[in-house]
């Protein structure tokens, strides 16, 4: 499938980098579900900014971590607001990443030449989850302490790589101050750099490989100012929404970590609650392997689609059914989690 030459390409025989930014977009991108990727991008910027601010007060040691979060929440001027923005931005970022994934999946926008858009995007999603886990551990209240224990144990139960990985994450056999420091380094240094690189890569791949053809979509509109303005309006609206959310639901803090007693409710943040229920309901190895297999199939989905459609499968229908089934299953697991 060849992407049609856009008017901008017709105008200029030679392309400079500005043409890539200015590259015109197919008209169907006007419809709002096709702008869902710009929302997590905006939120990622906000997360970097508020995250940087939080590091000025946060101390990654078991004695000081909880205390410093408490100081940020209750003493520092507007500390609660910055922490609240950071928290809600993560929630909304992951929510809109999921919407974005669903939209791409249902419209099969990963079809050639878009395979690498999907693969790089799925890595962005996995890294966003890793950021969610490490960030949530840093709060060091009792729920986050035991969440940290459970997740590292789960990774440690993988065959072959499990034990070294467990030692690598925990910095020893047990969850300790070293674990907190390692998760802090991952959350504030290694993962953000990786994530930023992947996000840039993802956006570049999207810009360079163009968009899959959508039946009925004719004509193009320029990236600037039309599309850029839409995205800008969304970003401003998002900021208003976020400020409201933080004002209405200011961030809270549970009781401090207690290595002697498990928190009564160890439910993770909402975006982990479905896999959490999954590992509760199924025997350990089965649950873990099915999650890993699911992640693998997810990342390689464009190639699965290609193989199946070559054998005559009606992939548009298959995707509709699979997408609905997965969304319903995740919703059911989440509801089950709130009831247990």
């Amino acid at each position: 499938m060849e992407s049609a030459a856009t008017p901008a390409e017709h105008r200029a025989g030679q392309k400079s980098w500005i043409d890539y930014i200015q590259k015109d977009l197919p008209a169907h991108l006007d419809w709002w579900p096709y702008t869902l990727g710009a929302i997590p991008l905006t939120l990622f910027g906000l997360l970097v900014a508020t995250g940087l601010m939080l590091t000025f007060y946060y101390v990654p040691s078991p004695e000081k971590a909880y205390e410093s979060v408490e100081q940020i929440t209750h003493e520092v001027y507007l500390g609660w607001f910055v922490r609240g923005l950071h928290k809600f931005s993560v929630d909304l970022m992951i929510l809109f990443l999921l919407f974005h994934v669903i939209r791409v999946f249902v419209t099969r926008a990963y079809r050639p030449p878009g395979e690498w858009k999907w693969v790089s995007g799925s890595l962005v999603l996995f890294l966003a989850f890793a950021m969610g886990f490490t960030g949530y551990s840093l709060v060091y209240d009792n729920v986050s302490y035991w969440g940290m224990t459970v997740v590292t144990s789960m990774l440690g139960s993988l065959p072959v790589v499990g034990t070294p990985l467990l030692y690598l994450l925990r910095g020893g056999e047990e969850v300790s101050g070293g674990t907190l420091l390692r998760l802090y380094d991952l959350h504030t240094k290694l993962l953000p750099v990786l994530l930023a690189g992947l996000v840039i890569g993802h956006v570049l791949v999207v810009r360079l490989s163009g968009f899959a053809e959508v039946p009925g979509s004719r004509g193009f509109h320029p990236f600037y100012p039309e599309h850029a303005l839409t995205m800008g309006a969304i970003a401003v609206g998002l900021l208003v929404l976020l400020v409201d959310l933080v004002m209405i639901f200011p961030p809270t803090l549970g009781p401090p970590a207690n290595p002697q007693e498990v928190a009564t409710d160890v439910s993770p943040p909402w975006y982990f609650s479905a896999p959490y229920m999954w590992i509760t309901l199924l025997p350990g190895p089965v649950a873990l392997w099915s999650l890993l297999a699911g992640a693998g199939i997810f990342a390689a989905y464009p190639f699965v689609d290609r193989v199946l459609s070559e054998r005559g499968w009606p992939m548009a229908l298959v995707n509709g059914v699979v997408g609905t089934a997965v969304v319903l299953a995740v919703a059911a697991l989440m509801i089950l989690d709130t009831r247990m």
Binding site: T149, V150, T152, S153, G172, V266, I279
Partner: protein, 148 residues
């Protein structure tokens, strides 16, 4: 008769292959050392018997939780005698608690259940609770633990 072309091409290929192998081996070793830097070496383990007190300190049918040198254990006295279990759930490392009414160990994280002999009877735990050896000297109870 076949002519053997022992020419420059093959010689170059072999020498490059040997060099590439050597280079990869060296880089691999270096990478392995860096990985070792990140993974701390385990401490040597010693065993010692820790006094936990008189047998009468543990009431019948009651589980007493304690922390012995970093090991979170629960000492349980039943009709069969005194047993010491690790509180670490064999599923994902949360701490189990003794439930007196149900006469079972319960893990709050993923609803794992162990009976009074430490056997995993419900939920995701894959194996029974770890046990520590309990030694009785006179009226005093000792638990053999690893200390690091």
């Amino acid at each position: 008769m076949a002519i053997i072309h022992d020419d420059l091409g093959r010689r170059r290929f072999l020498s490059q292959a040997v060099m590439a192998f050597g280079l990869l081996f060296g880089m691999g070793t270096l990478a392995l050392r860096f990985a070792q830097f990140l993974v701390p070496s385990p401490k040597a383990k010693r065993y010692e018997a820790v006094l936990i007190g008189a047998e009468s300190r543990v009431p019948l049918g009651e589980g007493v939780s304690m922390d012995l040198g970093g090991h979170k254990i629960v000492v349980l006295r039943t009709d069969e005698g005194v047993a010491a279990f690790s509180r670490r759930c064999t599923d994902l490392g949360c701490l189990v608690s003794w439930n007196r009414d149900r006469q079972q160990f319960l893990c709050p994280c993923h609803q794992g259940v162990f009976d009074k002999t430490g056997r995993n009877i419900a939920g995701p735990p894959p194996r029974p609770l770890d046990r520590f050896e309990v030694v009785k000297r006179g009226d005093q109870l000792y638990v053999n633990i690893q200390s690091g």
